[in-house]
């Protein structure tokens, strides 16, 4: 029995490492929606996963005000309030990576979503206590990207 159990362990590990090896460093998705619709959908989806949006940074407005031409380009900042309170005391260096952010920008009639894969950022922070948060964020961000993409299909 013990043999089978360790075999199972090896198989589980193999399945997991194949899955993580596939995890790209960046999460990217193309949404077949114009920017305003994609943005509305993105915000709905972020909130539906239990996050609070603290701010939308209008990078495009800043660029235009300074004389540059750009299509819509904004950043959505969000987090769970409890995590904002507790995580910096576990490791102050994580504060520079909080709140989480998704970049959203227009490419003609399409919209692109972009985020650093929390699964990859996790490797910057070896503390055990933080790992579960990265796993949840990675899972939620993937779901959010999927939902916004499907809204455009």
């Amino acid at each position: 029995m013990r043999r089978y159990r360790s075999l199972l362990g090896v198989l589980l590990l193999a399945a997991f490492s194949v899955a993580t090896a596939r995890a790209g460093a960046l999460l990217m998705a193309r949404v077949d929606l114009p920017f305003p619709e994609a943005m509305a959908q993105l915000q709905d989806s972020i909130v539906s996963h239990g996050y609070t949006i603290s701010r939308i940074q209008r990078v495009d407005a800043g660029l235009r005000a300074n004389g540059y031409t750009t299509a819509a380009y904004q950043i959505v900042f969000f987090a769970k309030p409890a995590e904002m309170r507790t995580l910096p005391s576990l490791d102050p260096q994580i504060a520079a990576y909080l709140p989480l952010q998704i970049v959203i920008f227009a490419e003609r009639g399409h919209t692109l979503l972009l985020a650093a894969n929390p699964g990859r950022i996790a490797s910057f922070f070896p503390q055990h206590a933080l790992q579960a948060h990265f796993v949840t964020w990675a899972h939620d961000m993937r779901a959010i990207f999927r939902e916004v993409r499907h809204a455009g299909q």
Binding site: R5, V18, E107, N117
Partner: protein
């Protein structure tokens, strides 16, 4: 032989069944032996974000143009997918199996109605030294000196750039390992209709000139490839320790930001927007700033640079120490497979480091 109770037999069988299930799911994840891989699905999952849903291009080059598809063989497409273009954004896909790559190639080919590939005839051995001179005069304006590639990649869609499609890097090890001499020659003889890449013959170059240019492009293979610095030992943050309290440190930080010619955008608490106004932790402050000229240049090179935005330095009291910190652009830069962006990250790194040193001196 040992007698087993029904329960223990069931348990053993259960373990076998579970193990079989695990094995099956491993195979399902890893892919080998999976019959007809679905090219359309793979394309949407792995490629469409950069190359466009219908292959019209974006951060990546167009893939659906008949002029492109007629001028590259399947080997070129397969190798490009396998190896990517190191340091030029296009990722390598070592996780894809042969049948998945074949399915992707079939899918990409369907955009031209699977019209047959027609490569230009093989040329004669050329003179790379003469080719280098021709390249400087005729090609470097788009492909960069020594073929390092245009400033930025793919199709110009979201902001003005020097070309409607930025010329790819020709010194790239991924390109050179994928393209046969005939593929390179075909691009030169015919050009790529629908892109800025024009036929060299139609521009008055001779067959011999083309042979020399092919020899020159091939010779780039033997030069050290441009490296995206991958400083794995860099920490996640640049950190300084301030001798002052939080309020005084923030005041010095604001001065340091302005002294570095950054526009101060906003100062706020870290948890602002997450807790009721007035309840914020006043020992955790973010100072946001931006250098719009630098940002505009960076966006032309790689529109994904927004992940660094806006520039911010966080001041935070932890165990009685006042820390001043920013993300470490060198470390974040390793996520992008973009050598040009890595160079900009080095600049950002120096800027952050100077600001933080100035604020904590």
């Amino acid at each position: 032989m040992e007698r087993k109770t029904a329960a223990s037999q069931l348990k053993t069988h259960g373990f076998f069944a579970l193990a079989a299930l695990m094995l099956w799911s491993c195979i399902a994840i890893a892919g080998p032996g999976r019959p007809a891989a679905d090219g359309a699905r793979l394309y949407v999952h792995y490629c469409a974000a950069c190359h466009g849903e219908r292959g019209r291009g974006g951060i990546g080059l167009p893939l659906s143009l008949p002029s492109f598809l007629a001028g590259v063989d399947d080997g070129y497409l397969r190798q490009t997918i396998r190896l990517g273009r190191p340091g030029r954004i296009m990722p390598a896909f070592p996780q894809l199996h042969g049948n998945q790559i074949d399915a992707l190639v079939r899918y990409i080919r369907h955009w031209s109605g699977n019209r047959p590939v027609m490569l230009a005839a093989a040329g004669k051995p050329g003179n790379a030294v003469r080719g280098a001179t021709l390249f400087s005069a005729r090609c470097a304006i788009c492909h960069g000196a020594n073929g390092v590639g245009g400033e930025g990649t793919g199709v110009t869609l979201s902001r003005p750039r020097s070309q409607p499609i930025m010329a790819p890097a020709l010194d790239n090890p991924g390109f050179l390992a994928s393209a046969s001499d005939r593929v390179i020659r075909t691009a030169l003889v015919r050009g790529r209709t629908g892109t800025p890449m024009r036929s060299a013959l139609k521009q008055g170059l001779s067959e011999r000139d083309i042979d020399d240019l092919v020899a020159y492009v091939r010779s780039l293979q033997y030069q050290p490839p441009p490296r995206a610095a991958a400083p794995r030992d860099e920490g996640p943050d640049i950190v300084g320790v301030s001798p002052d309290g939080v309020t005084a440190t923030v005041a010095r930080l604001k001065e340091a930001v302005e002294a570095a010619n950054m526009r101060l955008i906003r100062v706020q608490y870290l948890d602002q927007g997450f807790v009721p106004a007035g309840k914020e932790n006043r020992k955790q402050v973010i100072v946001y700033s931006c250098d719009f000229g630098f940002l505009n240049t960076a966006l032309q090179v790689d529109p994904r640079v927004g992940l660094f935005l806006p520039c911010r330095v966080t001041v935070l009291q932890h165990h009685g120490k006042v820390l001043v910190m920013s993300v470490n652009p060198k470390r974040l830069g390793t996520l992008f497979n973009d050598a040009a962006l890595s160079r900009l990250c080095d600049q950002m790194y120096r800027k952050y480091r100077d600001i933080i040193e100035e604020a904590t001196f």
